[in-house]
Homo-oligomer: 343 residues x 2
């Protein structure tokens, strides 16, 4: 093997004794030269180990990189192991890969988009980023933007009707006006703590999906003529056993003990079921528990979880399609009520 400093368009053109414009055309514009000539050049390049024009330079010149940034609501570290976000990424990447577009994961906690914005063709933003100043950057970005689970003026978006879905699952869980209800909420407050929400208003999150779900629950609860005291709503900072266990235990040990637990994620609901078992409570006899999301594990657990399947993968597919189509409209994705036997 010879030690080769990488070929450039110019150096390879000289080596082949042709114009650099011709090499460029051979790779980029087949119609600008004869089939035969093109194949000769391409073959020679391959033989010499020149794999085509430098993509970074190409992107600088053309203003297009075939890379899209997926802006996650939280750190990549956290999001990548969240089953719901994973399904979303699965959907996104299935479409992108098919179109030879690459995916860059970007943290919603980053200071600003500038670290990557010059490298990518645009952004798919999955949920409102924790660092809200990113939202303004997205609003002002000259690049393509698709938002998911929230909206930015005049941009393409994909949403699910969280309020209505929450209403339906709550409706399913509630039976009589004697039911004692507790809500295990996900990210109702902007804190890393597991705690009760009370009436704490958190205006910055008012339109978050968590609050939409809470509104849905409240509507069903009101219709059932049940009262939801303000000390019966918990905030869980992230969808994981660790935090959910604490809230579930607190809720199940409070008096009067709730017999209905409305959980804002399946992972929370699964933790709650386990906590109930540890406390000697039977699900659904002693306490009915419903989830939200419809992750795979919800089908595998005993009892099977009653939940809302929100089809995250389809959301990802749609978001990627809107992106590639440079669409500007909003899409609504349907959800499904999954009847398990946890309620």
């Amino acid at each position: 093997m010879t030690t080769k400093k990488p070929w450039t368009l110019k150096s390879i053109a000289k080596e082949l004794g042709v114009s650099n414009a011709t090499v460029s055309n051979a790779f980029n514009r087949p119609d600008q030269l004869s089939e035969k000539r093109r194949n000769e050049i391409l073959a020679s390049c391959k033989k010499l180990g020149y794999s085509g024009p430098n993509k970074a330079a190409q992107s600088l010149r053309r203003g297009k990189s075939d890379i899209v940034a997926l802006v996650l609501p939280d750190s990549v570290e956290y999001m990548v192991s969240d089953p719901v976000a994973s399904k979303f990424m699965k959907g996104v990447s299935s479409i992108l890969e098919r179109n030879q577009v690459n995916l860059l994961l970007f943290s919603g906690q980053a200071d600003n988009l500038s670290a990557v914005s010059d490298f990518v063709d645009g952004f798919i933003c999955y949920g409102s980023p924790r660092n809200t100043s990113l939202i303004d950057e997205l609003k002002n970005s000259p690049k393509k933007v698709v938002t998911v689970d929230f909206d930015i003026d005049r941009n393409a978006s994909v949403n699910v009707d969280n309020e209505q879905a929450a209403y339906e699952i709550a409706k399913k869980a509630l039976r009589t006006s004697d039911d004692k209800v507790a809500v295990l909420g996900l990210r109702l407050l902007d804190t890393k703590l597991t705690c009760r929400v009370y009436d704490t208003p958190d205006y910055s999150l008012q339109c978050s999906i968590a609050h939409k779900r809470l509104n849905g629950y409240r509507r069903a609860i009101a219709e059932a003529q049940i009262c939801l005291p303000s000390d019966r709503v918990w905030n869980i900072p992230e969808s994981s056993e660790k935090f959910a266990n604490i809230a579930a235990k607190e809720a199940l040990q409070s008096a009067p003990r709730p017999n209905v637990l409305l959980c804002m994620s399946d992972l929370i609901a699964i933790s709650a079921i386990q906590e109930a078992n540890r406390l000697g409570l039977k699900v659904p006899e002693d306490v009915r528990i419903v989830g939200f999301d419809g992750i795979d594990e919800a089908r595998r657990i005993t009892p099977r979880l009653t939940t809302i399947h929100q089809n995250s993968e389809e959301k990802g597919v749609k978001a990627a399609q809107l992106f590639l189509d440079s669409a500007k409209h909003a899409e609504l994705i349907p959800y499904t009520l999954i009847e398990g036997n946890s309620c």
Copy 2:
């Protein structure tokens, strides 16, 4: 809002009435100008909406982008929802994010690396990519490369002793020489089919982790003076319920019925437990089942799975550190035997 065509270093310098070198220095080399001057310039830039030098141009010039490509063994679509790969990505991204380095996901099925290689500072390659020609590209790449779960000459790598781990878990599962063993293997063959392996040699995969695990199983089986007939090893093409159910059912319905199932992933083992239950078999009384990987769900299921925890997150952390340190050596990560009650 005024419609602004994006500022460039040059245009902003002219606007501010200073040299473009000064603007560049203000952003990149604080020592080249007074604190005061620097702050003035930075403030003016911010006010005018110039967020700093274009990163794409910067990277072209400097040959550094602060982006690293994570080359996955299979399609991004598949890998992103695999719990083991997810943990690995979690580890990688935790380190990268801390160092302001961004992560690009790249498919092991892609034709070549050239779509991204000019954009990134190097590659972390998680497992041997399905398209093996990528391995040659990695070998010849002038960029940094860290491999995980396999090796490339003279490059940094992170590995787990799969053979020994498999030996230990098998040892745990086997009791007497009367035990009837079956192996539910993951990707022992290069096919998309669930089928028995028999003696089919697949030389290209001979050194894959699946075969290392199989060797470990075999060693324990031999030591226990048990025979493993060639029709008792199954190939499962990917770690999912869908394929695992088929193999588990086939294995559990074969005669003589196995009373020990050695599964090469936890997802396979979990599927096997469920299949056993469906067939009216008790775990571990009628059939002992062990997994591999140590995913979270393995702790949540009933019975708790006995498995090898291979600490994928730590693998990711190490891989990212080796990458950032431009290391050239190989690391071995320890594993842990998790005692559940499925065996």
